[in-house]
């Protein structure tokens, strides 16, 4: 037997089911986001941790020019080191049949016997290379898929100017290339970067590394910090051209994965809070109205002996039922969403298998969040129930007190018809509720802005980087710093119309115990292709002496213009000197230090500094230029402007529509939930006066003005607030996501604002259409018979 009060609860729930449903959907959206982010985060973390552990992913990584094999023995002795592994690795240019463009490749040695100690390779198809056969290699799976390479197919690596045939005998995955991206790229392009593992003895021969190595990985004992090992390793490698060791946190694949997971965790906190906050507000509005309508019932219940506690619970239960229903729906939706999101992640992050993690903790977190929202939402209504004295409640409520609204007092009165005055006075009588409605609707607009403007900013970054900073068609990097001969060699290639030398040196900048290994770039003040441009789009002016730092680098090192840094070159005779930071530049990709070319040459004692070149080419001669570059022994890597732009466009096409659709859906849920409930409450509060007006001869359209005028004003007020809010949220998000790899400029296209505004207006139209249906069925006779 259900107690009578609970039966009343069920019937109340049923009576206002459409409002309850609208709120439940808002709750469900928030919970879905919460649950999906939590599941994704946990699944990625578990998948990553198990993969790293099983394949012994390193904790510290370093490269050097050439280290004799006997040094390997002392690696184990470094502080905190558990195990060490040495390899021969090389960046090469690949010639893939069917592709005219040179492709960047990385060759990595496999032990001649046994498997790697660290950074284990997971074979996905085929077999391991036969150590006796120089041409056999296994390739990373995505590259094989990207080029449609089958076992037995061949590609060519250009090693020291010789075309070396590589025969694919297997495909593989590696924890080092979960996110397989070539240095300097923003997005992984499976066709532009290939990793090949082959027998060490052949790779060593090809690169003059017999009896030596150039790549070191260390794993640390549990709990050991990487810094002491890094410091000792750098000291150990210094005589052998050490290029500076990095901890796992700076390993590029790991960094991208970590960055994504940090974003997920942010989403798991922020977005559900917005949704549940709005749900709490809506519950508050609906419940307060319910208490107002049920004044007399509450008085009767109190009169016959129900306690304040029981009645307070009665109304809280309504909120709890609505939000728990929404919560359950949200948990189910979140589980589905997480599967879709993880699928998408697996497109970019490659693991041998995905471990989907689903815990009761997620459900508990979701239900607790729902409970908090419902209690928050019910609090004000329950307070008014408790406060209502039984005798007082038996009398009808006093008429609402109104006053002339601010706009009218400002002298606009004579332009306002009576229905418009009704709208304005009603809004100004409950300013807090109007403000909350505005904020609620504004959040929906801001979500739209955020989603779309993040794309705008990313697009702007690409445009700035590839149309303003790097205006070359091709960027070539050399194995070793080269002299003028390389410049002339490039300039003489038919089809190359412009060559700009890129001078630079690898160096470590040190300020106290903070340090970073970066490239110092020397750029000609009159550079036309590769330039140094700040976020203000203006090329940076160089002075003769100082060092210009990326602002982000200055922040990381804790220096400002005027401060002095210790600069240690990591090439040539490895000179060291103190230099003054003369300025910082708001560049957007990577972090660099910049110097005037002559100053750099003096610092490096005249050794060769040309580390690469920027080329302008004749589009008609593209294929012959590519062919020539593939055959040049000095060329270690070739970056193609058009390929980077294409992979960006593919990324946008693949993600833009999904992201926009999902955000549009969420924004609409919020907008509809807020506007629909506002309209329904308004209709309930004013059905009597609207019916009176109908009786007096006002048409449906005319009374519609009173009801929908209010919605239109709230929406119109909310749109600019929402656009501003979205812009600030974007600014906050971009600042939070500012990294050493890239910083996105804060831009929003006018279309983004138009799009967000339009979505909110459509949501208002939908809500109005649904409420209009109810308005048309207003019972004129019934409403007039009784006092409210």
């Amino acid at each position: 037997m259900i107690p009578a009060l609970d039966r009343k609860l069920l019937r109340d729930l049923w009576r206002v089911r459409s409002m309850g449903l609208a709120i439940a959907v808002v709750v469900a959206s928030g919970i879905a986001l919460l649950v999906a982010s939590l599941i994704c985060f946990d699944s990625l973390e578990t998948t990553r941790d198990r993969y790293y552990a099983r394949n012994e992913f390193g904790d510290v990584f370093a490269n050097a020019k050439r280290v004799p094999r006997w040094v390997a023995g002392s690696l184990d002795e470094l502080p905190g080191v558990d195990r060490a592994d040495t390899r021969v690795t090389a960046g090469v240019t690949l010639d893939v049949p069917g592709t005219s463009e040179p492709v960047n490749g990385r060759l990595i040695s496999l032990p001649d016997s046994g498997r790697p100690v660290l950074n284990g390779v997971t074979l996905r198809s085929g077999r391991w290379p036969d150590p006796g056969r120089a041409e056999e290699a296994i390739v990373n799976e995505r590259f094989a898929q990207g080029h449609g390479l089958e076992l037995g197919d061949q590609v060519f690596a250009v090693i020291n100017g010789r075309r070396q045939r590589l025969e694919i005998v297997g495909t593989a995955l590696s924890p080092e290339y979960v996110y397989a991206i070539a240095g300097g790229d923003l997005l992984p392009d499976p066709t532009r970067f290939g990793v090949f593992w082959m027998a060490r003895r052949h790779l060593a021969t090809a690169f003059d590394m017999e009896g030596g190595f150039n790549d070191i990985s260390l794993s640390l004992a549990e709990g050991a910090a990487p810094e002491p090992a890094i410091a000792e390793l750098d000291r150990l490698l210094e005589p052998y051209g050490g290029l500076g060791a990095i901890p796992r946190a700076q390993q590029i694949s790991h960094w991208y994965l970590q960055n994504e997971m940090t974003g997920l965790r942010g989403m798991a906190l922020l977005m559900p809070m917005i949704f549940l906050g709005i749900a709490a507000f809506l519950l508050n509005v609906v419940l307060r109205r319910m208490v107002a309508v049920q004044r007399e019932q509450i008085a009767v219940l109190k009169a016959i002996g129900y306690s304040n506690l029981r009645l307070g619970l009665h109304f809280t239960q309504w909120a709890v039922v609505v939000s728990v229903l929404g919560g359950i729906l949200g948990i189910a939706l979140g589980a589905l969403m997480s599967a879709a999101m993880l699928n998408l992640y697996m497109e970019y992050f490659r693991f041998p298998d995905l471990i989907m993690r689903w815990s009761w903790g997620h459900i508990l977190a979701a239900l607790l969040a729902c409970g908090a929202a419902s209690v928050l939402g019910a609090a004000a209504a329950v307070k008014s129930v408790v406060r209502l004295p039984p005798a007082e409640a038996m009398r009808p409520a006093a008429p609402d007190t109104f006053r002339v609204s601010l706009l009218e007092r400002l002298g606009l009165k004579r332009w306002l018809t009576q229905p418009l005055r009704m709208v304005l006075r009603n809004l100004s009588r409950r300013p807090a509720r109007a403000a909350m409605s505005v904020i609620g609707i504004a959040f929906s607009a801001s979500i739209m802005v955020l989603a779309s403007a993040a794309m705008d900013s990313f697009e702007e970054l690409m445009q700035l980087q590839f149309n303003v900073v790097q205006r070359q068609d091709v960027t070539v990097t050399f194995f070793e710093p080269e002299g003028r001969a390389a410049f002339y060699e490039l300039a003489s290639v038919p089809g190359v119309v412009e060559v700009e030398p890129l001078n630079g040196a690898s160096a470590r900048l040190r300020n106290g115990n903070r340090n970073r290994q970066v490239g110092i770039q020397a750029l000609q003040p009159d550079a036309r292709l590769q330039r140094v441009v700040g976020a203000d789009y203006q090329p940076v002016r160089f002075d003769r002496t100082g060092l210009i730092l990326s602002r982000k680098l200055a922040d990381v090192l804790g220096v400002a213009p005027g401060d002095t840094l210790r600069v240690e070159a990591l090439q040539g005779t490895r000179p060291e000197r103190d230099m003054v930071v003369s300025a910082t530049v708001d560049d957007l990709m990577g972090v660099s230090a910049y110097m005037e070319p002559e100053a750099l040459r003096r610092f490096l004692s005249d050794s060769a500094t040309m580390s690469g070149a920027a080329l302008g080419i004749d589009p008609a001669a593209r294929d012959s230029v590519y062919a020539a570059l593939k055959g040049m022994p000095v060329v270690a890597g070739v970056a193609l402007q058009h390929a980077m732009l294409e992979s960006f466009e593919t990324f946008v096409a693949e993600n833009m529509n999904n992201t926009m659709a999902i955000n549009l859906l969420f924004a609409m849920v919020i907008a509809f939930g807020v506007i629909y409930n506002t309209a329904r409450i308004s209709l309930s509060e004013r059905s009597r006066e609207l019916a009176s007006m109908r009786v007096m001869g006002f048409t449906r359209a005319e009374i519609g003005v009173v009801l929908f005028g209010e919605l239109a004003i709230l929406t119109a007020a909310a749109i600019p607030v929402g656009l501003g809010l979205g812009y600030s949220m974007l600014a906050g998000m971009l600042a939070a996501y500012e990294t050493e790899l890239f910083r996105m400029p804060l831009v929003t296209e006018p279309g983004t604002f138009a799009w967000a505004s339009a979505a909110v207006v459509v949501a208002m139209g939908l809500s109005a259409a649904v409420v209009r249906h109810k308005l048309n069925r207003l019972d004129l006779v019934e409403v007039l018979k009784t006092r409210e």
Partner: protein, 243 residues
């Protein structure tokens, strides 16, 4: 006024013939009106008397174009209201009918004058709002909001609102039902004056038999039928009523 003691000046404003109204209440059929024929003479003052449930509110709603009969005919100046659609009924109410309700039904967010202007803004040839308030004796209360007025004052604002459009027909549903005798008489006096000075055909429904003495004609309803109908030889002044 004409010589036969009736305020009616000839012709029919509304004519109802054999009107029935059946409501379906759940599984029960409620016969609210069972073949009622009533005429409203132009300029006349009619009181419809009857206990609750007698069908008088249904009759008033049909007269006012808020409801349509199940069968029978309702003619307004020859126009058949039973065949009118939603839009035509809205226009009928807007142009021809003024309503006064038991619970006033003022718009709380509008002050007295604005409540009247609500109607004058959508009428073709209205009285100035201030004049309408003057007629009901509330010229000095025009900027008060409903929450600042007594029940009698609110009801007089409602009358001012009803007459401001210069309606052909003024329909009042228990206009004094929620008022004490003093304020009730003020309200009736206002209705009397509007009928006399502006010639609005007036119909009041009430269960208060004392009010019947101020009418030209009294129709009593019981159980959905007309039980009694008579013409007052002389109309009593509202100020003389006792209840």
């Amino acid at each position: 006024m004409n010589g036969n003691g009736s305020g009616a000046n000839g012709g029919l404003a509304v004519s109802m013939r054999d009107v029935t109204k059946v409501y379906q209440m759940g599984e029960v059929e409620v016969h609210a009106l069972r073949g009622v024929s009533v005429d409203l003479e132009v300029g006349g003052f009619l009181v419809l008397l009857g206990p609750s449930g007698s069908g008088k509110s249904t009759l008033l709603n049909i007269l006012g174009g808020l409801d349509v009969p199940t069968s029978g005919q309702v003619l307004y100046r020859g126009q058949d209201l039973t065949r009118a659609d939603e839009g035509e009924l809205t226009r009928y109410r807007r142009r021809r009918v003024g309503f006064v309700f038991q619970f006033y039904n003022l718009i709380p967010s509008l002050n007295a004058r604005e409540n009247v202007e609500l109607v004058t803004e959508i009428s073709d040839d209205p009285l100035p709002a201030q004049e309408a308030l003057d007629i009901v004796g509330l010229a000095d209360r025009s900027s008060h909001f409903p929450s600042q007025m007594s029940g009698g004052e609110q009801q007089r604002v409602a009358i001012a609102r009803a007459i401001a459009k210069r309606p052909d027909i003024l329909l009042c549903d228990e206009p004094t039902g929620a008022l004490d005798i003093t304020t009730g008489i003020q309200v009736l006096e206002a209705l009397e004056r509007v009928n006399r000075d502006y010639g609005a055909t007036t119909a009041i429904i009430t269960h208060n038999a004392a009010i019947a003495t101020i009418a030209d004609r009294v129709v009593s309803l019981a159980d959905g039928r007309i039980s009694r109908q008579h013409v007052n030889e002389t109309r009593a002044a509202a100020s003389t009523i006792q209840w």
